[in-house]
Symmetry: C2
DNA sequence: TCCTTTCAAGACCATTCGGTCTAGATATGG
DNA sequence: CCATATCTAGACCGAATGGTCTTGAAAGGA
């Protein structure tokens, strides 16, 4: 029925209707679920994050989630669906973070500095070596998995839009150098930041990375 | 004996002494090897490139190299050693390309433009979707495989050094904007270019990517 | 109490994994 | 021709894969 291939459609629908909006006035009559589904997704996310999709085996997920095989399959359908949920959570976290850092009402340049500083911190030293679930997924599965493709594309577009928004506001406030186009600069920053994730795998020092990020931003800021 | 773990040392030595400088006055007496080892590495590289390490199965490699199981194991030891050879070839190709584009005697700014244009071409459209063996390897195996770690680290250092060299020459020729530090700018460009590889997975248009790269370089060039 | 549901533990399944080995054909040099 | 070495094809190996199913205990509502 669920076979390991990539017919995510059915599984997707299944988990959505089974998981979202818990107990809509519907009271199940047996023993209630005794574990936190979202916490399990989070733990699974951690495993996928540090090992990648293919290198993560079922026993790894069972150990991390502290679930039995049966419970895990009942709750999530299969490995692939669980992975997609973990990826969704990762993306949501990243976008939420950006929404805070680049909040429209706050000072855009400060926001951009915070945004870059966050990436510097996450891509240097041990944090850097841990890598990024989204970038790792993009490199491992993009082009082979339609559901993943969609999420990757959406994420980069969303990120670029937020950065472009902040740059536009900075430009309107006269803080940008002459000739800087916000949308073009946004693409530059997104590439830079994702490149940080890649070279971050070698565990550079925070100092170096921060100086590099500062040097880049200084090319745009007046 | 060779078991699938990561004792690359022995295999490494084996293939080195068995492959480099062919027939040093030594004439083997039986049937000679009837396939091109380097061509096989190249074909294997193609498979790892488009599928990644874990997702590449032995039958994939046999199909691509047109070798039998026995021949492949006799020639390369095991999957991991073959992968390392493929990775080495990929890295060598990339560095050779850079040595041409950023040749010390030629105009450094033109070289940097060519360097960026090459990345733009390789990271947009279908080329972009194909991705980069090195970045994919970094995200998939770095931190879990010491031999890979070494190669990734070496590559980024080598790339940064070449770009920094070109930028230094550009600065000496007075082509750089005031306040641009070549080594810092080199780190920026390396991050940007590796970020291109990541977002390239969504297959952006050549036009957009080229415009982005131009916009970045224009922030450094006078 | 009874019914229903979920739980953990683990047996079980077919398939695939990376890797070894054999058999028989083939191609070279002596 | 003989000895040597390599080739392909595929059987074979133990281990691991993702996934299903059974068992029996436990926890809720009616």
């Amino acid at each position: 029925m669920t076979q390991s291939g990539h017919l995510q459609f059915k599984d997707q629908l299944v988990y959505k209707s089974a998981v979202s909006h818990q107990t809509p006035a519907r009271l199940p009559r047996g023993r209630p679920r005794s574990f936190d589904t979202e916490a399990a997704v989070e733990r699974a996310m951690g495993v996928f994050w540090s090992r990648g999709y293919h290198a993560t085996a079922l026993p790894d997920l069972l150990r991390a989630t502290k679930l039995s095989r049966g419970s895990l399959y009942a709750a999530f359908g299969d490995k692939h669906s669980l992975f997609l949920r973990a990826l969704d959570r990762y993306v949501a976290n990243a976008l939420t973070r950006m929404d805070i850092e680049l909040a429209p009402h706050s000072e855009p340049v400060d926001g951009l500095r915070a945004y870059l500083a966050g990436y510097v911190e996450r891509t240097s030293g041990a944090n850097g070596r841990r890598g990024c679930l989204l970038v790792a997924t993009a490199m491992e599965l993009a082009g082979h998995d339609a559901e993943v493709d969609r999420r990757i594309g959406r994420f980069f577009k969303a990120m670029e839009a937020r950065v472009a928004g902040a740059l536009s506001r900075a430009k309107a406030a006269g803080k940008l150098d002459d000739g800087v186009d916000p949308s073009s600069a946004a693409r530059i920053l997104v590439c830079f930041v994702e490149g940080l994730r890649v070279v971050g795998k070698t565990g550079p020092t925070t100092i170096t990375s921060q100086a590099t990020a500062d040097a880049l931003l200084d090319r745009f800021i007046k």
